[in-house]
């Protein structure tokens, strides 16, 4: 069986404590993963200041070039994996095996990560608002006619990662180019992507010390977030609520992303069904940027019916089927519990599982040892219904009718909002809303991300701060 070691500032360490991730279909152990004990993590932190100092010796330009090389290695090379190696195809198979994601979805996420690494200069331009990166190397300089000085807020970025979709790993990657050592805690079912990214960076010439990889338990994850000067945590509300008020930690919880159609466009709703359906179902509905709500002033029942009919065509297929469009749950019990929870929500009057009437069949489908939750469109008669504004780890969306004047307040926290409207007043209200992370005007899929435009926090602002600066010694712009 494959064994993934801990990486202690790049150095492999084979722990006595090991966890196993199983193949989602056979339930047989697929990989052993060394587990880091809390004391080991704490001890390694004692050296991180030196590592940060070493990273400061690289220029931003050098690091961006390393990222571009790492992109190629990540996408196509055979890279070290424990005491063996892993090809790009084996990476896809392994990630699919333990997460349940079909191969085509893993490949799309792989391409997404490759894209971020290859275009790191553009990503940093977006994050820094077009700052000359040489200013970060020198510590100060002139930007748009003003003297600026930036300093790194932390010696490390700690990231507690999820297992739902490999694409999230593109979020921490820019930290390397921003000269920040990384301390990663991989998800239990998805240890592959961060390990492979690290190996790609190292092959590209990055200092191994910049990467710590600690599969660990809940206590270890907490230790990483407490010890790192800055952190990111992914997970559901119960996982992330502890960190919600800690300004050092960027919380990536549920997205509750949505599509709204304005009064001016609602009668043209059939034109937007494809965009809405893709927002709900692409990447098997696993991302926080997948839409889980469709909020409209009228035609709600008809829109729900059209979405349900379109998504009912999505049925389980083999993991390597290029047409596969839905992933099974790695743990069937999670699917069963989630299904029961949805049934409970729907037992309250005023909501209908429209997909059940549109040819989907049972929501919970068990095929060849795998449990799937098939796309579910729920029509809610009121925004107050408990099934409205819910998010699950599969293609689920509620369609809700509500008057436009109630929006955007009634939407609640929304990571991505696609607003299909040309009503300038409505657009202005949406632009002024504080609870919307990313705003798309027009029929743009919620999952369509532009990487130079960060949502859910700006990594540069998270890692760097600006200080006042003057110099009597030399011209600042020199």
């Amino acid at each position: 069986m494959r064994h993934l070691p801990v990486l202690r500032q790049g150095r492999p360490y084979y722990s006595v404590d090991r966890a196993r991730a199983v193949h989602h279909r056979t339930k047989e152990p697929f990989v052993e993963i060394s587990q880091a004990n809390v004391g080991l993590i704490r001890r390694d932190f004692l050296q991180l200041e030196d590592v940060a100092g070493m990273m400061a010796g690289f220029t931003s330009e050098e690091l961006v070039k390393l990222c571009a090389k790492a992109a190629e290695h990540f996408a196509g090379d055979t890279l070290p994996l424990g005491e063996g190696t892993q090809s790009a195809d084996e990476y896809v198979e392994a990630t699919s095996a333990t997460t349940g994601l079909p191969h085509n979805m893993v490949r799309r996420n792989q391409a997404k990560i490759q894209g971020v690494l290859a275009n790191m200069a553009g990503v940093l331009r977006g994050l820094t608002r077009n700052l000359d990166l040489a200013i970060l190397d020198r510590g100060y300089g002139e930007a748009a006619g003003a003297v600026v000085s930036y300093f790194r807020r932390t010696d490390s970025l700690g990231v507690v990662l999820p297992s739902n979709s490999p694409g999230v790993h593109s979020l921490w990657a820019p930290a390397f180019a921003l000269k920040t050592p990384l301390v990663l805690k991989p998800g239990g079912q998805e240890p592959w992507t961060p390990y492979r990214m690290i190996q790609a960076f190292i092959k590209a010439g990055a200092p191994p010390e910049a990467f710590s990889y600690y599969p660990t338990d809940h206590a270890g994850a907490g230790e990483i977030l407490r010890r790192c000067g800055r952190g990111m945590v992914f997970g559901d509300v119960s996982t992330t609520k502890v960190w919600a008020r800690d300004p050092r930690v960027e919380v990536h919880g549920p997205g509750w992303s949505k599509v709204v159609i304005g009064e001016d466009m609602i009668d043209r709703w059939p034109e937007f069904i494809d965009v809405i359906a893709a927002s709900i179902a692409e990447n098997s509905g696993r991302s926080c940027v997948n839409a889980s709500g469709v909020w409209v002033p009228r035609h709600g029942r008809a829109i729900a019916q059209a979405l349900a009919e379109k998504l009912a065509k999505i049925q389980p297929r083999a993991a390597d089927d290029p047409e596969a469009a839905i992933a099974p749950f790695a743990d069937a019990n999670v699917a069963r519990r989630m299904n029961q929870m949805i049934d409970g929500l729907l037992s309250e009057q005023g909501a209908t599982d429209v997909s059940a009437e549109a040819g989907r069949g049972e929501r919970l489908a068990e095929r060849e040892g795998c449990a799937y939750l098939l796309p579910t469109i729920v029509w809610c008669e009121s925004p107050a219904h408990p099934a409205a504004n819910k998010e699950f780890l599969f293609p689920y969306a509620s369609v809700v009718e509500t008057p436009i004047p109630t929006m955007p307040e009634i939407l609640g926290p929304t990571l991505v909002l696609t607003a299909i409207t040309e009503d300038k007043k409505f657009q202005q209200r949406l632009l002024a809303a504080q609870h919307i992370g990313r705003l798309n005007f027009g029929p743009i899929k919620t999952i369509q991300i532009v990487w130079d435009q960060p949502h859910e926090g700006n990594l540069f602002d998270h890692l760097y701060a600006r200080r006042a600066f003057q110099s009597a010694l030399e011209p600042v712009g020199a």
Binding site: G39, L40, R43
Partner: protein, 355 residues
Amino acid sequence: MQERVTAHKSALDAHVREIVEWHFNPETGCPFWLDFAAKAGWDPRKEIHCYEDLDKFGFFEDEKLRGGPVRQWVPKGLAHLPTYIFETGGSTGVPKSRVQMNDFRTDYEMFSHTLPDEAFPKGADWLMVGPSGPRRLRLAVEHLAQYRGGICFMIDLDPRWVVKLLKWGEFDMAERYKQHVVDQALTLLKAHDNIQCMFTTPKLLEAMCEKVNLRKLGIKGIFCGGTEMTPQFHRFAVEEMLDGIYFAPTYGNTLMGLATHKAPTKEDNWAIIYYPPTPRAVLEVVEPDNPTKVVPYGATGRVRLTTLTKETFVPRFLERDECEREAPCDQYPWDGVRNVRPFQKLGTNVVVGVY
């Protein structure tokens, strides 16, 4: 080996008869067990002949130890002796408690004989960095130090406060409290050259070793316990923290006393293997769903404790721990336990290992 195992079993059966006679004799027994016998409809002194016969008592519920009257546990035969009350570790609410007169001394004197003199020199002083207050460890470690000719330095540690801080989500404050404890310990270590031996818990040991090299401060032997230890912690401690200091992991609690560890071998792969202080206490590994049945050697099960001293009789108590059953070895010709850890099947949210 088989002869030694058999001889040990005969000695255990004789010990069981002696202890049952003591606890159920109206002249010497404690009110709790005498009352039990009066209501049970059977006489333990007549029906208990060997260790297996203790199954007749069923499983002991430790809730009986919560609250009073604590004098119901004092054997009449020992009522003339000064009595101590010891409480369980980090629990909140009404604590479970155990009365004792001399058991803690006896247990730790027996344990003392398992410690190598070169690592725990006779006459060397000790530092106790563990839970204080109403806990048995506090007096027991001091007695251990004195028994070996040393003086025991102490710090205060209130694990119940740590539990509260963690339940409130006050992780920073818990960390600061830990550092407060560690700072006191290091101050004592730096001020007293003759401190060469230490008791501490895994987390406090880690915290101290992040700040100093304990060997360079004169520590030669560390007796570690109080909370769960994993094989990985064992390896990490030996390879990275202790710089050659002798490491003696132990498993114990207020009800049992303490179990000593078997010297690790390469084949053990850092497993921590403990043997109870039989015949005073017996540890067995039983099927979780049928705790009357002992699992085969190497199999996983729930820890079942039977305490058999003149001060305390606790038959068939199911611990909140699980482990693998370990075969007798040269040093200990009776069953041991391997890699003790919290019992998963209980599924309760127990805060463990907080200090």
